[in-house]
Symmetry: C2
């Protein structure tokens, strides 16, 4: 059973994050073991803070307009192991321990299960 | 020297991509060899088509409001090896062969070179 470990971000690190006009920043979740990119979703300043404090991925659902504690419904939580922000501060990258069968609401392991090209 | 290989997407695959109010879709570039996430930027329908046809990453620069043929200035081009779209079609994932020293304009290999936490 994966454990949640909180990350103590400094005020300077948090201030480097830039939010868009809707107050959101893109957050990529990557499997810390397989290195597969699992999904991309959005966080606001509050859910980023919660994510770092609780050590598990908490997004902001743009469609439902509510806090999305990933895995509360599905059981497939994501525990944060490393957390990064990019050069211009508008994208976050989390290396996570993925619980359960995967990240995607379709039941797939990664949300990126469809490819362009003849093999589809 | 990496070679560009084009990807023949079907009309159905291209139609599954959903663009935001600005006509853009998020595009993640991941190193096909190391599996490191290199950067996240944006494409419109035209630059996605160009990316697949030419087999190298062509973004839309939101700040400069122009086509951004990654590497034309820096020499650090990204050659596409695999291309995916996610379950709701609003994020793309490209596995790329990264030319030169890396993806970031700062000179870093990945744009995600800063981490949250005491080690910074």
């Amino acid at each position: 059973m994966p454990e949640a470990v909180s990350i103590s971000a400094t005020p300077e690190q948090l201030a480097a994050v830039k939010y868009d006009a809707n107050g959101l920043v893109a957050a990529i979740a990557q499997d810390v073991h397989t290195k597969a990119v699992l999904m991309m979703a959005w966080m606001n300043a509050d859910t980023l803070r919660t994510t770092l404090q609780e050590g598990r991925m908490v997004y902001w659902s743009r469609s439902r307009k509510e806090v999305w504690r990933k895995g509360d419904t599905s059981g497939d939580r994501q525990f944060v192991r490393e957390a990064y922000y990019d050069c211009d501060g508008d994208t976050l990258l989390f290396l996570v321990e993925q619980e359960g069968k995967g990240a995607c609401h379709t039941g797939e392991y990664s949300c990126f299960f469809r490819s362009f090209g003849p093999e589809g």
